[in-house]
Symmetry: C2
Subunit: 261 residues, 2 copies
């Protein structure tokens, strides 16, 4: 029987970050979650808006942002500055003792700059090591770490890193000491059988179903890396992985997708 | 006999922050300081530069920046984002396990928005409470907190706060548990007897000398609030306060000003 303490790693993306009212409401509810928890947030459209305001061109390849040196500055300012600190301050208002992190803080998330071939995405990092020493010390004092999606290479370079990946890597690293539940909150109620039918949520997907859904083209494009992160976490001792709307965290009956091996 | 562990609180300002090479060199040396330490950094000219780039007008009253809502966003992005995270990443490169803070993180620095009369400086905070729980937990695990000059009001509002004040308030709060040394690093070798003579450093100023220097107009303008912070710290159990160039931290014989009661 597993006696490890439970910890929830909760990732929120653009659907929540982009709307001030939705974000405020989410954070108020998040603060009520009992027990150790970690919040990981993406960046939403704010970085793109700031880039436009600063006349820094946004370059996309295959639907993904190229992070040149100016874009990295913008991302650092928006993700680690504006969003992270306002999220932390709002959680403090709701008596959740939050503490903001990038992957450089506490040397928590070390990444390697992605190879420039075949495509040069610039200052983008793939996670190579996670050190949860600072997180554990803070959680033992009832603090709630709040991560933005930035890592570093341990040699002074910050790197833009996928927020889903940050969440799964943190979950995996914490699984040695905690029973970890990983929640991906996004705009849909879960993984959909029919993309146009918001109510066609597949409530349970295991690794075999996943392979079939992938083959049949039910799961495609943006959902593929998200699902890969989920199964990667499950294969590395994360106890529970769920995908759905944030309401799944607060209402047990709210429809969502649970993934298992 | 005082058996408390020694901690150094070191504040750096524009003279170091504004020059990439000077900052890099300082951080390399800072990383070598043994024992617990905290870095507090100001913002330098980067916030003003970003405001210009974003066409946000900078409004000054009596030589001080007015922090309207757009300026607060800029300050949060530059201080807590760009500067703080790059400082942390650079310290990691030099094997100093840094962890960035704003005053909202860990509910560390609670401030009250300054009254709007006689002058409305906007989102500017005066410190009312410091909680060093997170700092102590991290220091006991050999982490080095790095503070930007932002506080919060515990009700969701970030506030722009003087970096000298952040440093003295942290030093005072830590004095209950540590023997605290507070260092203000700036561009001059110390407090000057003759403003135009860079070598006229007054090596020691006590509270009586200070009153005389103030009366005689030797200490004036920008130096006054800095000195007030110093004596405020000394009156509240901070063991040592020095003002001078950053070199005073690394070369014992480097000229500087020591303040005592």
């Amino acid at each position: 029987m597993d006696k490890k303490e439970c910890i929830k790693v909760i990732k929120i993306g653009g659907a929540i970050i982009n709307d001030d009212k939705v974000l405020a409401s989410f954070l108020k509810s998040f603060a009520t979650i009992s027990g150790p928890k970690i919040l990981v947030h993406g960046g939403g459209v704010l970085a793109t808006e700031l880039a436009a305001q600063m006349n820094v061109p946004v370059r996309m390849i295959a639907g993904r942002r190229v992070t040149d040196v100016n874009t990295l500055d913008i991302i650092t300012m928006v993700y680690a500055g504006k969003i992270n600190k306002n999220v932390v301050a709002t959680l403090q208002k709701h008596k959740c003792n939050a503490l903001g992190f990038s992957g450089a803080d506490g040397n928590t998330i070390i990444a390697k700059k992605r190879p420039t071939k075949p495509i040069n995405f610039g200052y983008v990092g793939d996670v190579v090591k996670v050190d949860v020493t600072a997180i554990k010390a803070l959680i033992s004092h009832d603090f709630t770490p709040v991560f933005c999606a930035i890592s570093h290479n341990s040699n002074g370079q910050l790197l833009n890193t996928n927020a889903d990946t940050i969440a799964s890597e943190l979950a995996i690293a914490l699984a040695k000491n905690y029973t970890v539940e990983l929640y991906y909150c996004f705009e849909k109620k879960g993984v959909l059988k029919t993309i146009k039918d918001e109510d066609s949520v597949i409530s349970h997907i295991d690794i075999n179903t996943y392979e079939k859904l992938k083959k049949d083209g039910v799961i495609f494009e943006g959902m593929l890396p998200k699902m890969e992160n989920c199964f990667y976490a499950l294969k590395n001792q994360v106890a529970k992985v769920c995908i759905g709307q944030a309401e799944m965290l607060f209402e047990e009956t709210h429809t969502h997708t649970t993934l298992t091996l």
